[in-house]
Amino acid sequence: MSPNPAWSRTLDQIFVLLQHRIADLFPPLLQPWVAMILGVVGIVAVFPAIFALTTVLERKGLGRMQNRLGPNRVGPFGILQPIADAIKSLTKEDIVPRSADAVVHYLAPVVLVVAIFLGYAVLPVGRNMQLLNIDAGILFFFAIGASTELSIFMAGWSSRNKYSLLGAMRAVAQMISYEVPLLLSAVVAIMMTGSLNPSRIVEAQGGFTGILPHWYVFTPWGFAGFVLFVIAALAETNRSPFDLPEGESELVAGYFTEYSGFKFALFFLGEYLGMMSIAGYGITLFLGGWGAPLSVLAFLPSWLWFFGKLFLAIFFFIWLRGTLPRLRQDQLMNFAWKFMLPMSLLDLFVAALWRFLGEWLGAGLGTEVVRWLVCGLLLAVTYVLFARVMLKRQKISPRSYRYAE
């Protein structure tokens, strides 16, 4: 690959250069702080802006899929709709139910949004564009992601509303169950890179064979891991078809039924930001992060690729929402524990096999063929057998509801 021309490298680093330029205006003692604050401001400005854009795109896109127009009143083609929504939610009365637990009710959306913003701190959105380059970045993201569950519980429990509580219990049970396959499928990429550092993972996928990139998704274990990660991510962010916690037709709005005005907007924001951050980590882990998809396109700036992939991922999520019906609670749990978990464990094994086959047989075309055949067949055969058995075992009977009794 020929090195990129100077203008392309400048364009690639333009935000980093800008950050340094502004930080240089301050005395040396303050410079690291200023640089940090600028990074934070960047994250806090860019991702909510994408969120605003996503809401209108989602409504437009869903409208197209359902053969209607979607929002088209505010501004040209309804593009100013998010601003109208923002003004509405900011000026609405903030209602707190009389029997609600006021402190916890107030804290829940704040904790949620803060935790989700923290998750962006280690996300590499471009070459050298990462707020904190820490060694255990992926672990940090998963730790932060796990703590959002608690804020959802707080919201549902403090509202003193049966729909809220049911929604929160569903959400927490679902998130706990799908966190296991989410982590395990991410471990595959971590294992092959040998690092928990997101930047290192992206760099490990940076090479090209011919014009094709070395993304992890283009290997048998990476593909399986990616599919598992996407399913688990959908469940983790309560997106359709896993939107039981807030299934409108069953639970009003789930755990944030009793929230109004600005706090409701915070939940909405948190939900979309969570979706984008998990999509961002999926891109980092399996889709080469900010790397270009073809070697001839590597002259374009890295952040452009990252955000392009992010928009594709968001579109995919919207598309799924327009396509798939909602699952049932028991199907959801069975799927997590009886299918996702064994498959992700198998995927771990296959990834290890891939690595050791490479070491035993030495580099070469023969090794590649053997690796592809063995690992691909192992995954495919297991998947087919599993699916067969699960379909055969499927019992169609009325569901029974139980407390712990």
Binding site: D135, L139, F142, M154, W157, M169, I176, S195
Partner: protein
């Protein structure tokens, strides 16, 4: 100076959460203040330079144990404030006396204990080193923990499983 202030904030957070868990009457509030303690401890670990352990603390304690606790509270219908006579055991005064005595003895002993200290900067430990240690000298404990977790998983499922019809009830 800043170090001391940061330490005091983190330590205060940790202990305040524990005090709240000891005094509050609503079980869910106790569980939530417990998570404050867990978060404070994670911050203390981070300030000690143990990044990996700090994040593990958040992942395991806030992400799993705290959630387990609130689930157990809801499943045993324990939410809502408890009536006064159900909060503490009949011998709660003796319990607190014992606890305060233990704390006093521990702190007093710490004031006079000569520890071999190194004032060096925090040793930088990469995740890779931890992994190599886990796979090298500590591989046996790691395996045993794996077995223990599997046993706990199966045991918890069996204990919490609904009993077969006709046996009880």
């Amino acid at each position: 100076m800043i170090d001391t202030l940061v330490f005091l904030i983190f330590a205060g957070l940790t202990l305040a959460g524990a005090v709240a868990a000891a005094l509050l009457r609503n079980l869910v509030h106790c569980a939530l203040s417990l998570t404050v303690t867990f978060a404070g401890l994670a911050l203390l670990y981070l300030s000690l330079g143990a990044q990996f352990v700090g994040f593990t603390q958040v992942l395991v304690y806030i992400g799993a144990v705290a959630i387990l606790v609130v689930f157990a509270i809801l499943l045993t219908r324990g939410s809502g404030a408890l009536p006064g006579n159900l909060v503490t055991t009949s011998a709660w005064r003796i319990g607190w006396v014992a606890a305060v005595a233990v704390g006093f003895v521990l702190v007093a002993a710490l004031q006079h204990a000569p520890f071999a200290q190194s004032a060096a900067a925090a040793p930088a430990v990469s995740v890779q080193q931890i992994g190599q240690a886990l796979m090298g000298p500590f591989v046996l404990p790691l395996e045993i923990v794996g077995v223990l977790l599997t046993v706990a998983l199966i045991g918890a499922v069996i204990v919490a499983m609904p009993e077969r019809q006709g046996e009880d009830q």
